[in-house]
Symmetry: C2
Subunit: 136 residues, 2 copies
């Protein structure tokens, strides 16, 4: 069984990536590994952890409803999002990574962030890039 790894954050681009990843997993009969990276350190306290866990429970419910064989991982290990995704893709010999691209600039113009670039360049498998405005 092939594995698809998707980077998830509870934002439009994360939801767009998850939505498409579920479609791709169904299409391929693939297993889905959802990676939610949170940075550890001072910014991330017990309350953040509790909120993140509630969000991920909702994601787990959605995946169960979609009938996709999925695993949700919350990584808080200080590594950045790009490293996390690439590591998980490698460990699972993933066939595909799905990431969302976000709008960042003040006027809403999309720019390609450094995490996205690093994932594209260093991923051990092809990377599917989804923009938030395509499904939200």
């Amino acid at each position: 069984m092939t594995t698809i790894v998707v980077g998830y954050v509870p934002k439009p681009e994360g939801r767009a990536a998850l939505h498409r990843a579920v479609e791709e997993a169904r299409l391929r009969g693939a297993r889905l590994v959802v990676v939610n990276s949170a940075r550890g350190g001072r910014d991330f306290d017990h309350e953040d952890a509790a909120e993140a866990e509630i969000e991920l429970d909702e994601v787990r419910s959605q995946l169960a409803a979609a009938g996709v064989d999925a695993e949700v991982r919350q990584l808080v290990r200080g590594a950045d999002v790009a490293e996390d995704l690439i590591a998980v893709a490698g460990e699972n010999a993933a066939d595909l990574i799905v990431i969302g691209l976000r709008r960042r600039s003040p006027v809403g113009k999309l720019i390609l962030g450094s995490n996205a670039q690093r994932i594209l360049l260093d991923a051990p498998c092809p990377v599917l890039c989804v923009k938030a405005d395509e499904t939200d």
Copy 2:
């Protein structure tokens, strides 16, 4: 029937993109539009055009052998590769664009070129990025 648009150049990254695009087209029962962009102008003479046509005939043979419903377009209209791909994807209401990422730097390090970035940011649909060393 959905459409997949793939950017093709007769280089490792172009062949990697085409290879994966054929797999995706089979998986989805999709039609494939292969876009070979060549810049017009002084650099592109009759001999270049003839060589490009021979290469594209080989691609057409490969696609026919793969049993994929495909169209091969050679675009020489002065527009750049990113514009060409985005325009063709828009015209065909494509479900997916597949592009190859190339190694460019003198030491073989992969860097994300400006065409790839523009395709990712401006594409009307998700973009699948394939690295040359994944299939070659």
